[in-house]
Amino acid sequence: MAIGWYLVVSALIFVIGAAGVLTRRNPLVILLCLELMLNAANLALVAFARLHGREDGQIFALIVLVVAACEVTVGLGLIVAMYRRGLPIDVDELNELNG
């Protein structure tokens, strides 16, 4: 398969993730859509690694995997803290910073 097709799939996944971030209101689902966007970037990185025959792109993809795991951990921690305080789990309702 030509590398270009992998890039097209990656672009489509990224766009679907961006649309999800813009339209959904549940922060859990927004985190999932961010995962989609990061995975799209990963697919592009691995495709370019294959294109050039070097493994550097795969290293980048693994680092992105680590960063995504960190982001999920902190994001889910925030959601659990929101739930504990009885705040609504809805990004439209949460529009002020309030310790």
Partner: protein, 198 residues
Amino acid sequence: MAPVFFFLAALGALSGAIGVVMLRNPFYSVLALVFHLISLAALFLLLRAEFVAAAQVIVYAGAVMVLYVFVVAYVGSGEELTSGGGLRVLGPVFALVLAIELCIAMLGSALKGISGKGAPYIPGFGSPRHIGTLFLTKYLFPFEVASLLLLVAAIGAVVLARRRRGLEADPEYQARLHKPVSHLAGSMAESVGARRDR
């Protein structure tokens, strides 16, 4: 054979992604993402990235998604209310425009490289041995920074999600604070039982 596998995996990845966005129940969104991640791992395998594919399945589909499932089960997967805000309409339009632009940029570009099959395959490309060698020589610093980042995220999550006294409105705790006490409370007369309040 490779094109067949590519189209199956790409179809799986795209349908999983659409499922994440479209499904109303967050629990089903998480399951759709698991399907998407496994399809994506198949695409990684087709691109000869064996180690990345294995890490994807073990770390993402295994560990991170379990975390998601637990949080969804804890918070409760309530149905989402739909609202008619301006962004609800503008979001898909923006996404469509971005998709068209990206497809023009890639398919319409005169880049020779992306219409080819890539560099010739060398045995061992993308194997754990090569990746590990790169991580411990050329990319040692990012490797260490990534480990530090994981530590920071783990501590941050514990600090964020721990049970805090005073921040939450605990009715039991509030009731205990405002309990009326008699003027003899805590005195010796009360402790020996000689004098009980009313």
